[in-house]
Point group: C2
Chain length 413, copies 2
């Protein structure tokens, strides 16, 4: 496997101009006079502003997008120098934190200036969005403003659903880094390691290989499958024959991968082999069905059919009640769309999604596979290195010398 | 320095009972019939529920606190098994994501049941809070509910301002881990390392020493000082005589430290020595003033006086316009209170805060110190290992053999 060099960090000004141009066309079509953005990914999308201080809820940050011309930043003084490094020119700051007003008057004046008195301000209020300021502050702004506030989720969603070539390159890079780390995992794990040690070692390995950070790393251990796919592991020794799953969202330059890998410790039970095989086939069906023009609901059903054909209705991913089998990803670990019966989003080139079929194996027991793909003109391109067709092995005290012929050796990627 | 063993993970049921009891007393005093919690730290505080899936904005999570009896969880099905590990017993789930309702009806019914028809529901809406669900969903809930919704920030703030012994132990542990890593940094840095390589090595070192994750790591390089304290470093080689600052919020069991360290590369300029010394003295004044009964505004002024006495008004931290010189920390990188002229919060035993004096050195240039403390009956207890009185040195190509007598050798902590 060749050693890739990382794609360039940041984006060209031309890319921000193109994003803004698409947004302003949609704003005019939707009769919006301004967009108000308050969350980290929304502000980063239009400005390139990327700082970890979003961990702090103390200060709100705002970006106002007009129908003509560049966005205007209304931000705490502490971020002024960093914002000046971006392509944004009109940067208005206040010495935050300064309750109770804390930038609200400045924001209100800016909105009136840009949207006009009585003008309509759109902001993302819908599914998968969050307000990046205190609710009482927004309520006060809305109550005393002459501007009307309306939901602009559909605009932001339409823009962010389709990734640019530069965005795809970042996601592809982090997928390659993490694929290499998963391949290296069996060699990293000492037979006596506890699960929390394995996860810590894996986190370090991701950084060593070039991930910038690892905001999401969860996993579970169980027999044939596991009951919980959202928790961090407890400190326990791996028992021979159990299944270990790791699922990670690591980032490069602010873009996520999101995929998991299952491992069998020491040996593969028939049940685990069979579950792994069914999920492998379901993913294959998803890869085949993920083409421009197909809907997310259709893609969901293609995977669900494989699961249903292979087992009972109970084992089949559960039809309409059991959530989804994949989702978008990018600046966030999960983004629109959902691979679910209710999501009729039509796939288009540039969309980056996970394929995530899961199999219920009994009460409180399941297995999940996950791969990341980008939709191209002629179908799906895998961004992750496909999981092996046979569930890979981890060493245990009972199987020191097990050589795992099915899994790639660690690479220097 | 002794090698500490980590404090136990999680909290006792008695601790959750005590938190709930305090909350319910405040709720009755404030005539609230229920609390609605929607953000990660709020829900974790009352339930212990701690998962990284909060990285995903797809699904909202809710906890409803009654005036009598345990909190009720209203959460996505995917988190049910994890919530069952907590002390919460009444767990109501829906198969999220399922827009447009997506749990809203279930939440509305639960609020009516717990608060009563027409009852008052408090939720945090004020400074430093965020709503953990889409705004349109909350607007719909509020519009069609028989319940009244009101701001309960003061209750959550009062509870979380004062940390328990178990909370302080977690913060103290991560402070000790990071203190050790800062001490080890000069030995970690190859003379030809670029700043991004130094930051990556430091992140790995934090994990190796026992940090669970590193959600915040920023820094900067400059001459005598630096212009930006919120960005990640660019890839550049350290120039002899420049100042490198790192500032990190790493976590153990979900609790943050938040402190920085300044280093001089190769040699110390007079300007850097002097700035470092003034800030060291300002911190000392803060340590002395941080006692039960003092207000945050008083503590701010004690530090500001040292800065003003040592330099021009311009160099003095800027009086009322320049933000703050410290803040609370805990489950979040920054929490209430603020060390600022406008914050009259009275310090009390168990409060954990940062002391963060900063010095403007000229246009676009500053230096900042930061330590973490807990307020005890008899004054401040340092949680961080105090920065050396002389600014510590990093090796450069010009100073391979510089031995840094002022800085601790790496420890095995």
């Amino acid at each position: 496997m060749p050693v890739h060099s990382p794609p360039p960090r940041g984006f060209s000004t031309a890319e921000f101009e193109a994003r803004l141009d698409r947004a302003q066309r949609l704003m005019r079509a939707g009769e919006l006079d301004a967009l108000l953005l308050t969350s980290e990914p929304e502000i980063r999308y239009f400005s390139g502003f990327f700082i970890e201080l979003w961990e702090s809820p103390t200060r709100p940050w705002f970006l106002v997008v007009p129908t003509q011309g560049k966005p205007v930043a209304v931000i705490p003084e502490i971020g002024g120098a960093a914002m000046e490094q971006s392509w944004i020119e009109d940067i208005r700051t206040w010495p935050a934190p300064a309750p109770p007003d804390d930038g609200l008057s400045l924001l209100g004046r800016t909105l009136r200036e840009i949207a006009g008195a009585g003008g309509t301000v759109g902001l993302p209020m819908g599914h998968e969005t969050r307000l990046g300021m205190p609710l009482a502050a927004f309520d006060a702004l809305r109550a005393r403003s002459e501007n009307k506030f309306t939901d602009a989720t559909s605009i932001i969603r339409a823009l962010r659903l389709v990734k640019s070539a530069a965005e795809v390159a970042k996601i592809k890079h982090i997928c390659a880094i993490v694929s290499g780390a998963y391949s290296a995992l069996p060699a990293l794990v000492a037979p006596e390691a506890t699960t929390d040690e394995i996860f810590r070692a894996f986190r370090v390995e991701l950084l060593r290989r070039g991930a910038d950070d690892v905001p999401y790393l969860v996993g579970s251990v169980g027999w044939d499958g596991y009951g919980d796919i959202v928790s961090a592991p407890r400190a326990e020794q791996l028992q021979p024959g159990s299944i270990l799953v790791l699922d990670t969202g690591a980032r490069f330059d602010g873009y996520f991968c999101d995929f998991n890998r299952n491992f069998a410790t020491g040996s593969r039970s028939d049940a685990a082999r069979r579950a792994h095989d069914i999920l492998y086939q379901a993913t294959a069906a998803g890869l085949d069905a993920a083409r421009p023009g197909a809907t997310c609901a259709q893609l969901y059903r293609q995977m669900a059919q494989v699961l249903e054909a292979a087992g009972s209705a109970d084992a089949a991913g559960g039809g309409g009640t059991a959530g989804r089998m994949g989702h978008g990803l990018g600046m966030q670990l999960t983004e629109w769309p959902s691979l679910a019966p209710w999501d009729e989003t039509v796939l288009a080139p540039g969309m980056v999604i996970t394929l995530e079929p899961y199999l219920r194996l009994g009460p409180g027991r399941m297995m999940v596979h996950e791969e990341n793909i980008v939709i191209r003109e002629d179908g799906a391109e895998l961004l992750t290195r496909r999981t092996p067709a046979e569930i890979p092995l981890l060493p245990t005290n009972d199987s020191h010398s097990t050589s795992d012929r099915d899994y790639d050796a660690p690479t220097t990627y």
